[in-house]
């Protein structure tokens, strides 16, 4: 099977682009030290005229520099509370996501295959789907016994709709030729489901899961911020990464906000990469193009 060769040039370009980004961020963030220089007096006047603070660059000047973030990260990294935040968010995302797969895939397949199931299930599904998962936060706190379950439920919703929609769409877009070919070669209905509908829907399941996973991370962070992260003890411990960010904001530790943001970025990246590899593994016929 033809694999793409490892491209060292592309890697070099990618690293260079990240480096440039970090340098610009560092310079911009440290603008309060250099903007007072005589050479920039005209520029400062212009900033003032536009309604910005004259003492640093707008936006980027207000956030901590990468070097400060790295220092803060170095402190946080030895704090078990930080890792517990990773673990809690990860567990919520994982739990909600797998529950969404477990329920969403069979539900989507049923909607796609059975006219009765579609007639009964789809209207309700379409009625609930436009409600954003975050709008469910208060309601789910009321009707789930623990805060943990209510957050997991909201993350579940985030992935569920996307997975179902993709499964239904995928199963329905399978070309009728495949059904006819299977039929004319003597396949039973169960065979057709197992050997045509399931593998034919798999690529859409993979796509739906990847999108769903992204939404799950968005939702979990917001849910943790709103609900206080289920943390009883306060501080940085135990509330998940969303709560970690919120708590850093409340505590005035701006470097830690950025640490939390990047942490979530990394977590999302890792989970979608894992999913992508798994997706490639279960749909080997798509690897060749």
């Amino acid at each position: 099977m033809a694999r793409r060769k490892f491209d060292s040039k592309a890697l070099a370009k990618g690293l260079f682009s990240i480096l440039v980004f970090l340098v610009l961020w560092e310079i911009g963030s440290r603008s309060k030290t250099w903007i007072t220089a005589e050479a920039f007096s005209g520029f400062r006047e212009a900033l003032g005229a536009l309604g910005f603070n004259k003492n640093y660059l707008p936006w980027v000047g207000a956030i901590p520099a990468p070097s400060e973030v790295v220092v803060a990260w170095g402190k946080v990294i030895v704090d078990p509370g930080y890792w517990q935040s990773w673990w809690m968010s990860g567990a919520r995302v994982g739990g909600g996501f797998f529950a969404a797969m477990l329920v969403g895939i069979p539900f989507g397949l049923a909607l796609a295959v059975s006219r009765t199931a579609h007639g009964i299930g789809f209207p309700v599904f379409e009625l609930l789907r436009p409600i954003p998962p975050l709008a469910w936060v208060p309601a789910s706190i009321i009707f789930w016994p623990t805060q943990e379950l209510s957050i997991a439920f909201v993350t579940f919703l985030g992935a569920f709709y996307t997975i179902v929609i993709n499964v239904v769409g995928g199963a329905r877009s399978i070309d009728v030729r495949y059904f006819q070919a299977a039929q004319s070669m003597g396949s039973s209905k169960a065979d057709i489901f197992r050997r045509v509908i399931l593998p034919g829907t798999l690529p859409s399941i993979v796509v739906g899961s990847a999108v769903g996973m992204g939404i799950t991370w968005e939702v979990v962070v917001a849910a943790e911020m709103i609900s206080g992260g289920g943390s009883q003890s306060g501080g940085t411990s135990g509330g998940g990464l969303g709560f970690f960010i919120w708590n850093s904001y409340v505590g005035g530790s701006y470097e830690q906000i950025v640490v939390g943001m990047i942490s979530i970025g990394i977590a999302g990246f890792i989970s979608s990469e894992l999913l992508r590899h798994f997706g490639k593994y279960i749909t080997p016929w798509l690897r060749l193009r």
């Binding site: 099977m1 006819q180 299977a182 070669m185 003597g186 039973s188």
Partner: protein
């Protein structure tokens, strides 16, 4: 006559005779009914290659779908070796492995390797175990010159190879009839010529009845024992030509005098229908 299947090496085929009697197909009989097939009669002998030629959209595929059991007929009767497939009383035949279809755009399952595609039918029918089916598939693919692509996915091989694999997959079911719906439509003419010879080679080994839809007259006369030129919608045979060029044939036939004569004889009938189809298409548009 030398064009008859009885003259083929290995004795006369005894199965796969199709008789189409007075078949009518009207789409949407309740509303604005469109007659796709109009009292169509056609006899195809066991082991015969029957080519159905007609302009695009004339209703050829409707006939094929009726034989395969994908669609209903409105009235008439189609029999296979004397057994009724479908009739006015029972308008839809049951799809079965005695009549396997090779589709216009190909229907190899993209998620199965070529080998597993070929082995699919006998496993489904419970005729062979998975291992036995694979073994048979390997040897049939080797017979058809399809070495080295067994473990690839269909998406990894050329469309010509895919078409050959699909025909082998159909033959794995030991069908009485092979239903081919413009299988080489999307291929370039050079690949097509290779495909034609490969198909004939497979045919000489298996001598299965072939119901082959095409709009390419040269292809039809080169391959067929019989060529049915269909009228444009509604579809029925306008002219049935027996090709008296002896089988086995090879590409030398294309430059022979008799081949050119047959083309000349039929060209006008085909062209007339093409013009009709084109004009009615313009009206509809």
């Amino acid at each position: 006559m030398s064009g008859q299947p009885g003259k083929l090496p290995g004795g006369a085929p005894t199965r796969g005779a199709i008789r189409i009697e007075d078949v009518v197909k009207i789409y949407d009989p309740g509303g604005a009914s469109v007659m796709a097939v109009d009292h169509c009669n056609l006899d195809i002998a066991a082991g015969e290659i029957c080519m159905i030629v007609g302009p695009s959209g004339c209703g050829k595929t409707t006939l094929l779908n009726a034989i395969a059991g994908f669609h209903e007929i409105t009235s008439g009767r189609i029999t296979l070796d004397g057994e009724v497939l479908c009739s006015t009383e029972r308008p839809k035949s049951t799809p079965g492995s005695d009549r396997v279809v090779v589709f216009q755009n190909g229907a190899l399952f993209p998620w199965k390797t070529n080998l597993d595609n070929v082995a699919f039918g006998p496993i489904m029918q419970g005729k062979l175990s998975k291992a036995e089916a694979r073994e048979k598939a390997l040897s049939m693919m080797a017979d058809a010159g399809l070495n080295g692509v067994e473990h690839n996915f269909p998406g990894e091989v050329s469309s010509g190879v895919r078409r050959r694999i699909e025909i082998v997959r159909a033959l794995m079911n030991d069908p009485k009839v092979l239903l081919l719906d413009e299988p080489y439509r999307a291929l370039d003419s050079l690949t097509k010529s290779v495909m034609h010879e490969a198909l004939l080679e497979i045919y000489y080994k298996n001598k299965v009845t072939i119901f082959f839809i095409t709009h390419d007259l040269e292809e039809a006369i080169f391959l067929g024992h019989k060529v049915a030129i269909m009228t444009s919608r509604p579809c029925k045979p306008k002219k049935i030509l027996t090709v008296d060029i002896p089988h086995p044939r090879d590409y030398g036939v294309l430059t022979s005098k008799r081949f050119r004569e047959l083309i000349e004889e039929t060209n006008e009938a085909v062209h007339e229908e093409a013009v009709k189809a084109f004009q009615s298409g313009e009206k509809e548009g």
